[in-house]
Symmetry: C2
Subunit: 377 residues, 2 copies
Amino acid sequence: MRKNPIVQRETLGAAVLQVRSGRATSRTTLAKALGISPSTTGLYVDHLIAEKYLNESGLNQGPMGRPRRILSTQAEAGWFAGLEFNAQRIQAVGVDFSGSLKMTVELPLPADVLADQVIKSLLTCVAKLAETMQGPLLSVGLGVPGLVDAQAGIGLYYAFIPDWNQVPVADEIRSKLKVPVILQNNLRAIALAERWFGLGHGLNDYVILGPRSGFGIAMVQDGRVIEGSHHAAGEVGRWPWPLMEGAGEGKELHHALSAPATWRRLAGVDGLAKLPEDLRAGLAAFADSTGPEWEAVCGDYARVIGLLHMIIDTGVFILHGPLTMLGERFCQSITDAACALMPALREGGLKIVPSTLGDNAGALGAASLAMEAWSPA
Amino acid sequence: MRKNPIVQRETLGAAVLQVRSGRATSRTTLAKALGISPSTTGLYVDHLIAEKYLNESGLNQGPMGRPRRILSTQAEAGWFAGLEFNAQRIQAVGVDFSGSLKMTVELPLPADVLADQVIKSLLTCVAKLAETMQGPLLSVGLGVPGLVDAQAGIGLYYAFIPDWNQVPVADEIRSKLKVPVILQNNLRAIALAERWFGLGHGLNDYVILGPRSGFGIAMVQDGRVIEGSHHAAGEVGRWPWPLMEGAGEGKELHHALSAPATWRRLAGVDGLAKLPEDLRAGLAAFADSTGPEWEAVCGDYARVIGLLHMIIDTGVFILHGPLTMLGERFCQSITDAACALMPALREGGLKIVPSTLGDNAGALGAASLAMEAWSPA
DNA sequence: TTGGGTTTTTTCGCATTCGAATAAAAAGCC
DNA sequence: GGCTTTTTATTCGAATGCGAAAAAACCCAA
């Protein structure tokens, strides 16, 4: 038997993350992934197995040599809650310790909802999840709309909930549930969701395009989400647009590229026209569209994405939200238009792809937050 | 006496950096800055003093308690070379171990210079510096124009030196001088120069605006320079401009905002007009200018900076290069124009300042690279 | 079946790093 | 001047993490 006392909780958490993500499958690969020695890694793994967070699930014989003892996360060790909301609804997911989505809950919010009630409803969602999820709740991730101070756990501002100003959501929920609560902006949470549940698996640099009721982006550089000095990185929705004309009401990127605006432009109707009941379906109808409207929309997207690409020189743009219904062709049209407008992009390898995640990407991202933040007691 | 054997070279280097920058002035503050225990810090400092890299320069009595034993770097311990070049000239600086600029060398390059001769000339510059600098050369930093793979030490591409393609500059120079050689793009080196010699002292997030023969930016986020997946972050010069018109020859940001273009626009002459002999002086003449040309130039700058600000939400923009001759008022005009065009910026606290560094900022940045990379043998 | 080759895991001694306690150096205060 | 208070630096035992070497587990070939 080996010596027992180990303490670095943070490293234990990191080890679990590596195993859960599949980046590390054995003690040796885990050692490399964590950058610590194989001997120490052995101790950590022993500890985690003793505490029932990990287990050994068989052997993996390579072409030669002693086979690896495969490590995997113990699904029953507990679960993570991912909560995301906007002014209309809360979406919540329960994810087991292995990182598998087990349950989704959706809760509509009344019109003109206030911060207090949002928090209460968030707790309701967790309670609902807890009814079916196995084991203890380990931590909670929160995807919050608007400006967010992730470090402090405070929701700074959100236009569509009147009193959403300097709300210490994280503390409020932590005090009720007695588990760690981690906060992040909606869209930045989605960036994490891509890493854990979507296309961002092996990626270290990518940008999330989030056209919903407005237009914003989230950037991942070197594996880290960019926050900005004022927590406002990626808030490009208030770019004046079209750029060269003067500023004015309605002349912002929000009004040109949001999901409703995109539908209106494709449908060729003005701002007063009623939106379809189901916007996603409404958009899907245009998946095979052509013509000047299509060109115009793609052109605007191309311009914005082109500019972004030349600034931060990232690898991939992942399109999110309702507009994914427009499919691959939409992304391809944008790529083509961008390369036509900006010859420099041809070499740079511009790549735009629709996300494979659905409507609950935000909640999944919140769950990712929870997973990334957790470490054993 | 304490025990002697210490090995973590990297930590020793980091300790010297903290002392040199003035962030740490005593053993205790150094311990905090490095995130290691005071006891260990004591050992490291002893070692560095024994090796003549640091010394104790008196006491600093606080309001109470035992006074701090002030640590400082030993200027005579050696020196760093900072080299920067473009197609016209090399600039080189010698910086002593305390980080003080001691010497500058400038060497013009012949027209149509090739990579080989650039490298030879770089070595000539180092030799010239070595004649007067005291102590051993410790490391060399290189500010290279164009695309650069900093990690690999390779100059990838530069339009104005014909055979500047995949040049392993770092290795070539290292093999001659037998000291570490660190590479970085020109403008990104300037970003470091601001931190060590200029306005970026306490800053962790800022953007360098570099209008010279073209237009590019360098971004520092959380203390780290952003490189981009293809080493091309900040290469915004090929943005189509004016944005909404189609692409075309000469319709790029380069051609609107470069230093020569700015002069031409302010002077109201077309692209064929001859540039003044001394562009800096020529620009300085417009420092008190007004009128539609001034407005137009500031408007374009305002648009670009505004867009950038909303994307990466950084704290400060530092203007570099010849246009600093236009002074504070230029920056103020841009700020005003940006806030007029983009109401969102008013809250965000947009701040634009001219750099206090002169023409040798690139070389100083290269020297900063050298300092940051060095650690004792 | 036995022995070499290869890769993973563990053992074991060592030493760097830490923490708590101690010493040191000054100021203020009676 | 001695006392306490406060902050900085050092001492010293304890222990975490590392490296080298050994052990383990598997393949393959003779």
